[in-house]
């Protein structure tokens, strides 16, 4: 479904702040893969996601989604294939617009907007049902402005907006990191429910190793812009956090550098 082929990305090349974020990254996702992504600070996790989403272009390499070469497509063109949820709950929705208006925009993801009326009453029932599944009481607040919602509610809404058109690829960039533990758990449950139900091919960055082990059918760990651990299926199920740390030290010859990951 997704092929990342030898992708390189360097920020601030030729300056003292030069950062080689991706160094020949290779990744191949099968349809329906639910992959959790972990790695220390500056390992290239977000750079990987952003280069797949087209926030910036890779310096070198090729990215293919469902057989379509998107390497040279800008972000808005790739959006046709990709649903995204960001770490910052403010980024995924338009605060000054109604819940219904946000959903209407998301329901047309990847289509050129035309002159038809945006919020159609015929869609309202569907929106209400989708919102009901979130179990946050949003189904009765279709005309509320999104800015009035809590971070968790906004993140759940963003998740819904990212998945309602069943994208070929779902990218989750630490989408529960900015939420309190209880809300984070709820949003993560919702994520699993939706991903498993619709069999969405998913890449989920998380700083929480336990979540990374519990969710999905495959786990990858990034270090210095490369994948150093890639486990799936039964092998992944058997792992626990100490195993992962040991594997990391063996693979990288380094200590795992993220307090958040260890404490989380």
């Amino acid at each position: 479904m997704l092929v990342v082929d030898n992708v390189w990305k360097t920020f601030n090349a030729g300056t003292v702040n030069e950062k080689k974020a991706l160094q020949g990254l290779n990744l191949h996702l099968k349809p329906g893969d639910f992959v959790t992504v972990i790695g220390g600070n500056g390992a290239g996790k977000s750079t990987m996601l952003n280069s797949i989403a087209g926030v910036f272009f890779a310096d070198k390499g090729k990215i293919t989604i469902d057989g379509v070469d998107v390497t040279k497509d800008p972000e808005y063109k790739r959006a046709k294939h990709i649903g995204r949820v960001f770490q910052d709950p403010m980024l995924g929705t338009a605060a000054g617009m109604q819940i219904e208006e946000n959903l209407a925009v998301a329901s047309r993801r990847g289509k050129v907007p035309g002159l038809a009326w945006s919020s159609k009453s015929s869609e309202r029932e569907r929106f209400r049902e989708l919102l009901k599944e979130l179990d946050l009481g949003l189904e009765d607040r279709l005309t509320s402005k999104v800015g009035l919602l809590s971070g968790g509610q906004r993140q759940a809404l963003t998740l819904l907006m990212a998945t309602m058109t069943k994208p070929k690829l779902l990218l989750l960039d630490e989408h529960t990191a900015a939420l309190d533990p209880k809300t984070a758990a709820k949003v993560l449950d919702l994520t699993e429910k939706i991903v498993n139900r619709d069999k969405l091919t998913t890449l989920m960055i998380t700083h929480n190793m336990r979540d990374a082990l519990r969710c999905g059918n495959r786990l990858i760990m990034l270090h210095n812009g490369r994948i150093i651990i890639d486990v799936e299926g039964e092998e992944k199920k058997k792992l626990d956090v100490p195993d992962l740390l040991k594997m990391f030290e063996q693979a990288s010859g380094d200590e795992f550098a993220s307090d958040r990951a260890l404490l989380g």
Partner: protein, 295 residues
């Protein structure tokens, strides 16, 4: 007195189209667009020149609309494709338009069409006084344009433009090219501002290259007065607030002039009103922080 009230209202109506343009950039797109300082006199210059050349006055308004849209597109391209900050892109267009406006008026600083037909003439022929004629015509135009704006920003494309103003990242992730939506927003805004200039120019019978000075501040003053007094509950509510705010702003001006204020001080007064209004949110925060004993 009657005539003063009527002329204050029609001035507010004709200028409200400019204020709506400023609303679309400043509030909807979240860009302070200074192009309006050039596109307002551009609208007047184009319309007055076309009327002087014998064109139908409504055609002259349409011409002004197209010229204004073009000015908006230029600013949009400078901002999106050349990545010039929006404020600077607007200033560049504004300065360039000064020369263009002089050209449009045949290298003259002003151009008048005294005793020629304007869009208001047919209304005066109905037996209305000059002031009443302009009022009725202005009201019709404003109602029609507000309805069109309301419809457009409720469509898929309009919703995409509004979302661009709130959150570019979000709407790009939904597959919308934000360069296009920003350019479209600036196009519509400056088109409206130019129409306002065309109507104001026709109402006074001349176009002047300096008539755009302070347009943005006047627009902001109208916008803020309207929002504070008439509310911002919904998009519809905002549009109506801007129009009423523009009328009220003209009322304030008429009132201070009636009190004997020197007309030369008007722009200073307007700037002070806007500065106070823009700093209100900060003041409010500081005040509430003090009450809580934080500050």
């Amino acid at each position: 007195m009657y005539n003063l009230v009527i002329s204050t209202i029609w001035q507010g109506l004709l200028w409200s189209l400019m204020a709506l343009g400023v609303y679309l950039t400043y509030r909807v797109l979240d860009i302070a667009d200074l192009t309006v300082e050039g596109s307002f006199p551009l609208g007047a210059a184009v319309a007055i020149s076309m009327i002087a050349a014998g064109f139908n006055p409504w055609l002259a308004v349409l011409g002004a609309f197209c010229a204004g849209m073009l000015a908006g597109v230029v600013t949009g391209l400078l901002h999106t494709k050349l990545q010039i900050p929006a404020l600077l892109a607007g200033i560049l267009s504004m300065i360039a338009l000064y020369s263009i406006n002089l050209r449009v008026m045949g290298n003259k600083a002003n151009l008048s069409i005294l005793r020629m037909d304007t869009v208001f003439t047919p209304f005066m022929n109905l037996g209305l006084s000059k002031n009443e004629g302009i009022l009725v015509c202005g009201l019709l135009v404003v109602v029609v344009i507000v309805l069109i704006i309301y419809w457009f920003f409720g469509t898929e494309l309009g919703a995409a433009i509004r979302a661009t103003g709130f959150n570019k990242q979000m709407i790009r992730a939904q597959g919308v090219n934000t360069d296009i939506t920003v350019i479209l927003g600036l196009l519509i805004s400056n088109g409206l501002v130019a129409v306002s200039g065309a109507l104001v120019g026709q109402s006074q019978g001349y176009a002047d290259v300096g008539m755009g000075t302070g347009t943005i501040v006047t627009g902001l003053a109208s916008l803020i007065i309207g929002e504070v007094i008439f509310g911002t509950r919904s998009f519809k509510n905002c549009l109506i607030s801007v129009v009423l705010g523009s009328i009220l702003y003209r009322g304030v001006i008429a009132f201070v002039l009636w009190l004997g204020m020197n007309p030369n001080d008007l722009k200073l007064l307007t700037a002070i009103i806007v500065a106070i209004a823009l700093s209100l949110p900060l003041m409010k925060n500081k005040l509430s922080a003090k009450k809580k004993g934080v500050a």
